[in-house]
């Protein structure tokens, strides 16, 4: 049966991320040789997520751009407010400290 050289997840046909991760895991368990390059499972898992869930991420980032940009702005505002509040608390506690321990 004919196939495509690049699969629909933009993965390499015949050396898909699943196969790579499985092999690296086996290597990590067996430890009978060293392929070099210090393979890190975390990087490979992240890459696999990009390949297999990247489409959904693209939908979120592109299709619902306005929505998540708005949430980002809101988060930033909350963080700014929170830091202002923390600053005020810090200021207040410092002044209390100075007043009581002078």
């Amino acid at each position: 049966m004919n196939t495509k050289t690049t699969n629909k997840h933009y993965d390499i046909q015949g050396l898909e991320m699943v196969r790579v991760i499985r092999l690296i895991t086996l290597w990590k368990i067996l430890r009978i040789d060293d392929i070099g390059g210090k393979p890190r499972l975390r990087d490979l898992l992240q890459l696999a997520v990009h390949h297999y869930a990247g489409r959904f991420a693209a939908i979120v980032t592109v299709k619902h751009e306005k929505r998540w940009l708005r949430s980002l702005v809101l988060i930033r505002e909350y963080r700014a407010r929170a830091s202002r509040f923390a600053g005020r608390v810090k200021q207040r506690s410092l002044s209390l400290f100075r007043r009581n321990y002078k």
């Binding site: 050289t5 933009y10 015949g14 050396l15 392929i35 390059g37």
Partner: protein
């Protein structure tokens, strides 16, 4: 008006088609719309061009790194943009102008003649290789032509329209495009909106009957809408997905050596119309064998540059495939022409064996190699391999109490110590050796003439490229020319070097294993030896094996093996089977070279990924992979006709020899053979 946004190319085309009668003119953005880039960042193209310029500068005695060249280019480009920004609404630059200044700056106003054109041509080549036409757009352009619509390409880029036209012509789209407009020509871009009135006036367009398609929300959507042109914005989700993978790989590969090779393979992958349904064997050639052979050619180039070797000979039938890959890769990897001249040498072990005996006779080592295959065992096999006439030799055998049928091989079944001693005595017999030399002399003369004809003796150092494994061709070749005073130093470069025979390794003749060398003792690399026959079969030239040479007037030509026997038919059948795999290898060679040029990686960066590739595909293959790649017929020119004992077969059995049923249903089989291979490797030392 609000520009329509589309997240799929098909929906965009459908939407424009539904109101196509309202438009006479369709304008398209070029980059990331009609063409997509394999890379995530267009600036990556600048790296190979900077390397090219700095390499040529070095030839002219100017020591400049590629990063400094790149920096100069960016600085001068920015200066041009700032200068043009004072007179025009957009901060645009023109490639030809700033590149001229870059070269003038680097070469201190003494730019080699025609070098600017060479740089432009090289950038065009790399750019073309990195660009892919959107398949659906290409089909749609044909439809628009049929509908008699005017198609314009409008791009904001530093390349002039003539450069873009060349790009479009390279991709075969020029019959469907009316004109190409670049911001580099007028310094008025789409981004500021100043390009739109210019285009309207130049082509006398009605803006109400004009539709524009692009990917930039400002240049291709907001600005044309402002001007009154209907715009369609393409925000392709698939493309965003693909680019995010490439971007992620690029970022991670800077810290993770393993991902460097993956990044290269990701850039090589066929996209859009290139990615059609193909035979799985093509995919094996493209994704498995291609990168391995590409790595091999790149390593040969590095070795030749380091050792100042200016002549490379690809030999034996496997060398033919390697030479094709080399020819595809070199113009991209070394645009300055700093790579050795390469040619194909029609040689084989059988064709060289006889000639190798002309000076020293039959050596113990050479005889040992002839008896190495498990189905070779007696003196007749030696005569077959060395093409010796047995009749004049029989008296010498009788003199040493040997018959032509006595097993004499080191590990031949039935061999006795007595027979081995007798054979050693025979090799010490000067009468016997004189007879061998007498028979070998004509073959040696013909071989020497052939090598002379191929310019073999004209260089102080030559590289001899072969797939592997013992390096017997090189050994025989060195023996055959050992009488000469003027002969080149031979640097053997093998894909895999098993180095099982103690061949000479001195300043006159060295053997290096590129992908696998037994002396390096690397476990993943050693897996190559599991499928030696597969490598040989897949890389085999379309011509039969060379068995001898003949003089034809003033030249010497190779004589090929018969093509009308059973073995030849079987080989032909297998060649047909492997044809898609070979095509995959050839197609991948140029893409591998471009990916390596763009990333700027060296061979050592690929090693971890290739180790993984070898382990995944050889030690842990899928059953379907074994069933399609495994060779059906393998013709070993040294092999005899004796039956191989089961004991030897068992001892050398590996994963690729077991039945497909076992492979499919035994879950621990791969692991068992993987560990067995490790054990065998440790035992062999």
């Amino acid at each position: 008006m609000q520009a329509e946004t589309h997240f799929e190319l098909s929906s965009l085309i459908e939407s424009v088609n539904s109101s196509l009668d309202d438009y006479d003119t369709v304008s398209l953005d070029l980059f990331d719309t009609l063409f997509i880039r394999r890379i995530h960042e267009p600036d990556e193209i600048k790296r190979p061009v900077a390397i090219f310029i700095s390499n040529v500068a070095r030839q002219y005695g100017i020591d400049i790194s590629f990063s400094r060249t790149w920096q100069i280019r960016n600085e001068i480009e920015q200066q041009h943009r700032n200068r043009n920004g004072k007179h025009f609404p957009d901060f645009e630059a023109r490639y030809e102008d700033f590149m001229k200044e870059v070269l003038s700056d680097i070469f201190e106003k003494q730019v080699p003649t025609g070098f600017l054109e060479e740089v432009i041509a090289y950038e065009l080549r790399i750019e073309t290789s990195m660009l892919v036409v959107r398949e659906e757009f290409a089909r749609w352009l044909k439809y628009l032509k049929e509908q008699k619509k005017r198609v314009l390409i409008i791009s904001d880029i530093y390349h002039s329209s003539s450069f873009l036209e060349l790009l479009i012509r390279e991709k075969g789209l020029d019959p469907y495009i009316h004109s190409v407009i670049s911001s580099a020509d007028s310094f008025n871009a789409k981004a500021s909106g100043s390009a739109w009135p210019l285009v309207r006036d130049r082509f006398n367009l009605d803006i109400n009957r004009w539709v524009h398609i692009g990917d930039n929300p400002i240049s291709d959507s907001a600005k044309p809408e402002e001007f009154g042109i209907k715009a369609h914005l393409l925000r392709d989700l698939g493309e965003k997905h693909r680019k995010s993978i490439v971007r992620h790989l690029h970022a991670k590969s800077s810290r993770n050596e393993l991902l460097k090779g993956r990044y290269v393979q990701q850039l090589m992958l066929p996209l859009e119309a290139e990615n059609v349904d193909v035979s799985p064997l093509y995919t094996d050639g493209y994704n498995f064998m291609g990168p391995l052979l590409g790595y091999f050619c790149l390593s040969v180039l590095d070795y030749c540059r380091t050792n100042k070797i200016d002549r490379v000979y690809f030999c034996s039938r496997e060398g033919w495939t390697l030479l094709r890959c080399w020819d595809e890769m070199m113009p991209i990897l070394a645009p300055d022409g700093n790579y050795p001249e390469a040619s194909y040498l029609y040689v084989s072990r059988i064709a060289l064996a006889k000639a190798s005996c002309s000076k020293h006779g039959l050596s113990n080592l050479s005889a040992g190699v002839a008896l190495l295959p498990a189905n070779s065992r007696d003196f007749r096999d030696i005569c077959r391999v060395f093409s010796l006439d047995i009749e004049p030799i029989l008296p010498f055998l009788e003199m040493h109490d040997l018959s032509a049928h006595d097993p004499i091989g080191h590990s031949s079944p039935g061999v006795t110590i007595e027979n081995r001693h007798k054979f050693q005595e025979l090799l010490l017999d000067s009468g016997f050796q004189n007879e061998v030399k007498r028979q070998a002399r004509p073959a040696q003369l013909k071989l020497e003439s052939y090598l002379n004809q191929e310019g073999f003796f004209e260089h102080p150092d030559v590289a001899l490229i072969d797939i592997g494994w013992l390096g017997t061709i090189q050994h025989y070749l060195v023996d055959a020319i050992s009488h000469r005073l003027h002969k080149p130093r031979i640097h053997g470069m093998l894909l895999g070097a098993s180095k099982l025979m103690p061949y000479r390794d001195n300043h006159e003749s060295r053997v290096h294993g590129v992908l696998y060398d037994r002396l390096r003792f690397s476990f993943p690399e050693s897996l190559v030896t599991t499928i030696k026959d597969v490598f040989e079969e897949t890389c085999r030239a379309p011509h039969p094996s060379v068995i001898d040479y003949e003089r034809k007037y003033s030249s010497v030509e190779p004589i090929f093996r018969n093509t009308d026997d059973e073995v030849a038919f079987a080989e032909e059948e297998q060649d047909r089977h492997y044809a898609p795999l070979r095509q995959g290898i050839f197609d991948s060679a140029a893409r591998f070279a471009v990916a390596m040029a763009v990333t700027g990686y060296r061979t050592q960066h690929l090693k971890p990924w290739l180790n993984l590739l070898l382990t995944a595909r050889i030690a842990f293959p899928k059953t379907a992979e074994v069933s399609r790649i495994k060779h059906q017929v393998h013709q070993d020119d040294f092999a005899g006709n004796h039956i191989i004992p089961k004991k030897i077969l068992r001892a050398t059995r590996n994963l690729w020899d077991v039945s497909l049923r076992q492979l499919r249903f035994n879950p621990f089989l791969r692991l068992y053979y993987y560990l067995l291979h490790a054990l065998r490797l440790l035992r062999s030392g």
